[in-house]
Subunit: 152 residues, 2 copies
Amino acid sequence: MKWSEIGGTPCSVARALSVVGDRWVLLVLREAFMGVRRFEDFRSRTGMSRRVLAERLTALVEEGVFERRAYSDRPERFEYRLTAKGRDLYPVLVALLNWGDHWMADEEGPAVELVHDPCGATVHPVQTCPRCGQAIDPRAMTPVLKRDLRAT
Amino acid sequence: MKWSEIGGTPCSVARALSVVGDRWVLLVLREAFMGVRRFEDFRSRTGMSRRVLAERLTALVEEGVFERRAYSDRPERFEYRLTAKGRDLYPVLVALLNWGDHWMADEEGPAVELVHDPCGATVHPVQTCPRCGQAIDPRAMTPVLKRDLRAT
DNA sequence: CGGTATCCCATTTGATACTG
DNA sequence: CAGTATCAAATGGGATACCG
């Protein structure tokens, strides 16, 4: 299977990956959640080449993850803002951050900490069951297959 | 910046991505969480080529995400089992699944559903604050930068 | 079954230059 | 600042064959 066909799969994970399953895209999203909106800021903070950044931003706008809007008319200048669809990717980034903090840490401690404004605590968010409120343990979850994941 | 240097960054997201920031790797993990352990099963269920799969599995074993162990001596046969480090990637996969279910769905409904065994409910797990228990809203989170994300 | 070895094409990307 | 154009180099990946 070629990667370009992966989005046509019925699996939601694969479909999600067809949009955000790219190293650079995730790095761009990291910056977006840190408040970055402009091309040059994305570029300098991630270290991506212009070419790659331009291409990824275009694709993400097409996918509806970012909205491109002018913030200046003369000269024309654009910025990229997360849409609701884009904002919903927050849990993905947080999950990666948590895992990196736990398993890829060094002695100097994490570079970014997350403060939950309502309660003021510095936290690592946890996934819980919306029904019973318990923290999720992978071994207590049963995946139920409804369709062949490879079908078109 | 080249991608190969990204793991040397102090950002936990980037470090996590240096291990799992690959399309195929995430697909392999998806299968692992569905109970798959053997080479041929990974291959047929993801549609990857042998070459790519072998390479990714080797790398993941080196990173400590999978453990390679013999399940038969004669002939010698191996299987790949998630380690604790690997199991901790579950929230990443679930976050992707949730997002895909919500934003990339089709009329036929999700291909995979998650049942929370303890309460028996089919759920989309949610991220909550471990301190106050509230569901996480990205806009209620403040990222606090402790170090330059691009430093070595 | 569980890989490894080879070959070769397609895509990606980093560098650099250029533009409104 | 916010890109686009171009090109050479590297990488990735499919196909196929082979082996214990």
